[in-house]
Symmetry: C2
Subunit: 342 residues, 2 copies
């Protein structure tokens, strides 16, 4: 059973494990600082599909397939797929997972969806609803630009504060079962669920500014609910705030008297070499935090280099319609605590 903490958090008395993670990315993602750490690199961003959306479907399918192959002894026990993507009506995920023919819960949390999936997934495992389940999220540079901004063919100039949607999919196998080799798994020990936070920002080319207030809101409540402080964590990891959003988050936390700059990292900043790769403020998308979790964060937690981290993907809640109708872009951030299983 889960233990409720404060108004927004739960802690697990029995452990929930991330038994395995898989990252599938595009060529550009593998040309960044994380070169060589991904499970699969697709040179063709369409992966043989006829449309960008079919390309995204193929990334999802590849991530889930590889995860099942890597965990063949657990795969038969998988009871749910829980996940989502950035596209309208979740078509990136629907057509990516349909052929696995497993019970499916579709989610939407914008770029925070990997945090939402790990939150709900771990709650379901903890509740005994599943011994094993899969969390999967994806994004695709071309399908996302088409969905949210302007057709790629326009060649629109990108301001410095814009982020670059990661082409990739990350999939994770959650289980309540202790692994034979303890260090092969990472534990999810707690969750702080995000609220929608709206500072009135309306610039869809500056997602960092839209999401930073939500990140600060979740982080402050997390410290309060868990009676913890930054030094209790080896790293505080946001999803895709990018360089502009990171500065805003650090500033918002300082205003509350909390300094996190020495241990904060952002998956979007880790993903690309922004100058060399011209990605401006960093990477973004549901696939960003998920692939960096599989490629970089889980290995460091497995090895014990990091004992305990906050993993907090952030999402900007807009659609083309809401943006064109002049609505604000609220943010949300879903936090999970990940620990070395030493």
């Amino acid at each position: 059973m889960a233990k409720q903490l404060g108004i927004c958090s739960v802690a697990y008395e029995e452990p929930v494990y991330i038994r395995s993670g898989v990252s599938v990315v595009g060529k550009k993602e593998n040309e960044g600082p994380l070169n060589g750490l991904f499970d699969y690199v697709a040179d063709d961003p369409m992966m043989g599909g006829k449309t960008w959306e079919e390309g995204e479907n193929a990334f999802v399918k590849k991530a889930v397939s590889l995860l099942m192959q890597k965990n063949s002894e657990l795969a038969s026990g998988v009871r749910y797929i829980v996940g989502g993507d950035l596209l309208g009506q979740g078509i990136g995920t629907t057509f990516g997972v349909e052929e696995f023919h497993l019970p499916f819960f579709g989610l939407y949390g914008a770029c925070s969806t990997s945090g939402e999936a790990l939150s709900i997934g771990s709650m379901l495992v903890n509740a005994g609803c599943a011994d094993e389940l899969i969390c999967v999220t994806s994004s695709h540079f071309a399908s996302a630009e088409k969905e949210f901004r302007t057709p790629l063919d326009y060649g629109t100039q990108r301001p410095e504060c814009a982020t670059w949607t990661v082409t990739g999919s990350g999939a994770f196998l959650l289980s309540g079962k202790e692994p034979q080799l303890r260090m092969s798994a990472v534990r999810i020990t707690g969750v702080t669920t995000g609220r929608i936070v709206d500072y009135g920002v309306k610039d869809s080319m500056n997602m960092g500014a839209c999401m930073a207030p939500a990140a600060a809101d979740t982080l402050l409540r997390h410290f309060k609910d868990f009676k913890s402080e930054p030094k209790d964590y080896d790293r505080i990891i946001t999803g895709d705030l990018g360089m502009v959003g990171r500065e805003a988050l650090l500033q918002l936390m300082r205003e509350e008297g909390i300094e996190i700059s020495d241990r904060h990292i952002d998956c979007g900043i880790e993903m690309f070499d922004s100058l060399a790769q011209k990605t401006n403020a960093g990477g973004s998308g549901c696939g960003c935090a998920a692939t960096v979790l599989a490629a970089l964060i889980l290995p460091k937690l497995r090895s014990g280099e990091w004992k305990k981290v906050i993993f907090m993907p952030t999402g900007a809640l807009l659609s083309r319609v809401s943006f064109n109708e002049g609505k604000t872009i609220p943010g949300i951030a879903h936090c999970v605590v990940l620990e070395h299983n030493g």
Copy 2:
């Protein structure tokens, strides 16, 4: 803790209650057979908003507000809002719930979302993650037509098999606490989670045909997992198959040797008088099953007229993009078992 049944179902050992439900609908919905049963009827389909989307937001906000007012003694314990709608990136819900400032899990399951929300919501209550939480879904005729089909101004002719998206929102307060007045609550005793089922149908004007195979798939697995049969339920209630989808479901079940026609009802068929109201095959949308649950189904379960029913909203997983790219329209159906708390 939940007990796993078969490969797709869970049963709850401790009860989860729907303590209260609220329905907010438009004028046309209240002119149908369920006239007078709704909690609130909005004569203005924009509810004071400037756009159809703002109208939908207002329906959501009204439903959640009324639910909290009706349950003021429980409202302070609400830990999560779980829900979604049909619009891209869930903007119907986001801007509807943001001002409640509660931890939020956004879902997407097309018109099955109310079933998905009750499934995940009941799992979270059962897990002890929340004593109380709110499930909410919505749809809006005008915002949905704009999102999925053609602008209303075109006056496109609607084939007989088309359904009419319900303008409305239904909100439910789930709780693990036994109510003082037993009969004031309805119990959720089990869940069978839907898989994506794709028969290759591509007609977005015939959603019933897209969704019926998924309804049959979930229903067959439900009977198997729970070792139950149709006569164990007073009603088997689908979300919005409409008249075409109902016939397809009855036929698919007959092919498996199971007759459900004497106890099957469909929220979409209940909602409108199709001839008088020119709604063709019936009502549809995330708001259809949810408002009929609050207005019709919960009262009959409370009174004991019905002791046990299957509530199974169905969803058609398409987007404007996937439809225009020639993709199929797969279906999904999420089933919850609702029982009189006698």
